[in-house]
Amino acid sequence: MWRILAYCREDGWAVIGHADKVSLLRPPFARGQLTPLDPAALPRLLAQPGMLCPAREQQDHTSLPVLIDFLNQEILRSRADSGHALPESGYGPRLLAMAPAPVLARMLDRIESELLGQGRLEQARTALVAVLGAPACRESQEILGRTAALLQRVDEAVKTREKIRADAADIPKVYPAAARRYGVESLRDFNAASRTRNPFGLPRAA
């Protein structure tokens, strides 16, 4: 049994009791990290603004994922209750608009390696447009130039992908079994994505 000893509805910080241990759980919950709590720190943590004891029926949870789901729902409910419901989307562009230059430089590194590098072109383009909208980007020739260059690479990769798709008309002839199994369009998409990442494209059948 996982017990919430105290928690804050607004941000999801929670003091958890499980297997005779007391720990702190806090977002991001995907990491599922429980930090052991020093008993000396507990009184002041419990005295912090927002920390409350849950209602009796909300204290015990059958597993950590169930407990995390409860905390996530409480965050959404508390924000809605206060009249400031959390927006569905738009967090990235909103934050990047206030990002200083070193943060933007780090973002560009990640966009290049994790989005562009993996052929996630639409996501890369959206992120780059958000970087372009940041005042700190427009104030730095280096970041502005790098953003523009990456956008150009995205455009070129999109064109390459479209060309590969157009050139892939003979895929059903080369891979008839795969075409029957996965559908011609799926194979063209897969081929285009692979070619964008890998200049050698799909391995040809022997």
Partner: protein, 273 residues
Amino acid sequence: MDIFEAARANEGRHRGRYEAALAAADADIAARLGAFVESVARDGSVSINMRLFVAENFISGHPYENIHEFCERMAELSGRAAPDILREKLGSYWERRTKFDAYLTDSWLLYYAALNIGGTGATSYGDFCVILGRCLELHGRRVAYLRDDSLNGYVDAAAGVDESRLLADLCAEAERVYLAAMKHIDDIPRTDAGGWDSMVCSDRSYIEAIFDARPGRQEVSEIRLPASCYDRLWDIAFADFSRPLEPGEKAEANDFAQLLDAAGTAGIAVRAV
């Protein structure tokens, strides 16, 4: 007990102890102690570690609440009695806390913070170390410092208040440098000067500052947070372009954006350390 009067009554005590220790110390150690005192005098301020959503509310102009004000507000919202909410909130620590509060005059008006000479403070209470300024008394309030955390240092497990220790350790603002020096007199010579900030204020140890008027955002000179936390918050911004965010991440991203916005408007620097 009026904690501020008791602190004032100790005037000269901490300075006297420090000067005696200085006179008895080797030249090398005396020089280190002198450098430490200079460092506290130069960089000393008072900080409150807050969770992101608390810091965001505060910097956006909402009042910072002490535990009693929070319970009163919850009582108004829920229709329950504030003392019941306080008892439930503090659980097994309720008795120690109420005994200490009952010992102090006007305890429901008090706010708790810590002496800070740099760094990010006691982050287990919140990553956002809100620096309130060098001298709280400049803003017309009374301040007292305690060598240790009030509950952990001066109230025993049976909820008894160690009055003699409390009276000996209380210190007014003018002598906080000497209180800090005497608390760390053994640590100062063997700790690199770069580590003095975390020696003075961290999760392990801090000098508690107690004051009697609500802090305002106009007093905030800076907000510091650990670089790892700062990077993690920007990682959420990046993640928003590549996957759906969980509600906890959305709340953090939302609050961080609002904090940056409000801090920017108020001219308060937000700095990763």
